[in-house]
Symmetry: C2
Amino acid sequence: MNRKKNLPELFDQIFDHWSPKVVGEVNDHLIKISKIQGEFLWHNHKREDEMFMVVKGEMEVQLRDEIIPLTENEIFVVARGVDHNLRAKEECWLLILEKARKKD
Amino acid sequence: MNRKKNLPELFDQIFDHWSPKVVGEVNDHLIKISKIQGEFLWHNHKREDEMFMVVKGEMEVQLRDEIIPLTENEIFVVARGVDHNLRAKEECWLLILEKARKKD
């Protein structure tokens, strides 16, 4: 059954960084949460936008030509095809919304 | 250009209750924010799920057979076709994700 999701409680069940957990679905999109710290890797999603929202802490979305610093209750949507990387000096809690994967 | 969205700043530009404002898009979905207080009205969306996240305050999603109380950083997805109503005793700030409308 589709219950409500208490994000702080769900984050408390995550012990690893860069290990996103699916906490819900809305239409063809997955609602994920992830604790991040350090740097991820440069990549892009050719056909899909990806939404990031900081729930706690601070992080940066690196684009090729600029850096987008994000703090609590800030949202940034990385448009499809745009190279990006994520990094956080201290642990940061992220809410992520992205399309459920289909085979390309 | 797609800039980051600072939700508190965007909420500060909303002066009416039940007057959702589109603050972004991710794929075929709209990211909306709304200040709510009082009661909305019973309705459903036949073909689309709708995600609610409380950014500040408290509210209730009423379903026909239960009431889902939501507080800050809690998410509830109303599945397509499910009758629901929203209500909040005090002003509450909501983040809403829903599919961009197409003509039915």
